[in-house]
């Protein structure tokens, strides 16, 4: 008799183990013959060594768009967190809970509308 979360814990244990086993196994049996050419970074046919020193440090200037997406995502993710207990309890609560949730959602829809209208959802 294990607690429910004991089972989950065993799953977590296996989640670590399961990907590790083939990795270890293949590490044992596979050949290891690295050379310079193999270990260069893939550059669409260009030789990595040709690049100046600072370019070998891989850094691409990412656009802030990604981050803005992440912000919007975080906000809605949290919204979802609040939606679930509400949904579970909804049956017991009655219609006023709907009103409250619509308020909550309305406020966040405004956030979505803001992002939309300001063009943040365009991947330009």
């Amino acid at each position: 008799m294990l607690d429910r979360y004991g089972v989950v814990a065993l799953f977590a244990f296996m989640a670590v183990l399961f990907p590790a086993i083939p990795l270890v196994f293949s590490w044992i049996i596979r050949p290891k013959k690295p050379n310079k050419s193999k270990t260069t970074t893939y550059e669409c046919g260009l030789e990595f060594e040709d690049f100046p020193e600072e370019a070998q440090q891989v850094w691409v200037q990412f656009r802030v768009q990604y981050f803005l997406y992440a912000i919007i995502f975080v906000v809605f993710d949290i919204e979802a967190v609040f939606l679930y207990p509400w949904a579970v309890a909804y049956n017991a609560l009655g219609l006023y809970a709907l009103v409250e949730m619509v308020l909550f959602l309305g406020i966040l829809i405004l956030a979505l509308a803001y992002a939309w209208r300001k063009g943040l959802l365009e991947w330009a």
Partner: protein, 106 residues
């Protein structure tokens, strides 16, 4: 049950680790990481208290859990705002190192 202080000690340790990170790091994002650790530690405290301290009302009082839920939410908002500020300063100053951010004296 495991004694409550076990949790509290872990939370305190985590909190102080976070505090150290927040105070000792150079990079603004690293400081933020420390702060997130601190908030996390507090949440652990709250949940542990919720579980162990006799609830104030006969129906199961979820105050601690609810508080923790809100702390999670606020931590997310805080991270969003803080990182936005970090990005803004990176853009204008090419650094996220708090020691380089010294247009004005601390």
């Amino acid at each position: 049950m495991i004694p409550l202080p076990f949790y509290l000690v872990i939370a305190a340790a985590l909190f102080c680790v976070g505090l150290y990170g927040a105070l000792a790091r150079r990079n603004a994002i690293a400081i933020l990481i420390g702060i997130e650790l601190m908030l996390n530690a507090v949440n652990l405290n709250l949940v542990a208290f919720w579980r162990y301290i006799k609830p104030a009302s006969p129906t199961m009082d979820l105050a601690g859990q609810v508080f923790a839920l809100f702390v999670v939410t606020l931590a997310a908002a805080e991270a969003a705002i803080g990182l936005a500020l970090v990005i803004a300063i990176y853009r204008s100053r090419d650094t996220v190192n708090v020691e380089d951010v010294d247009l004005m004296k601390w």
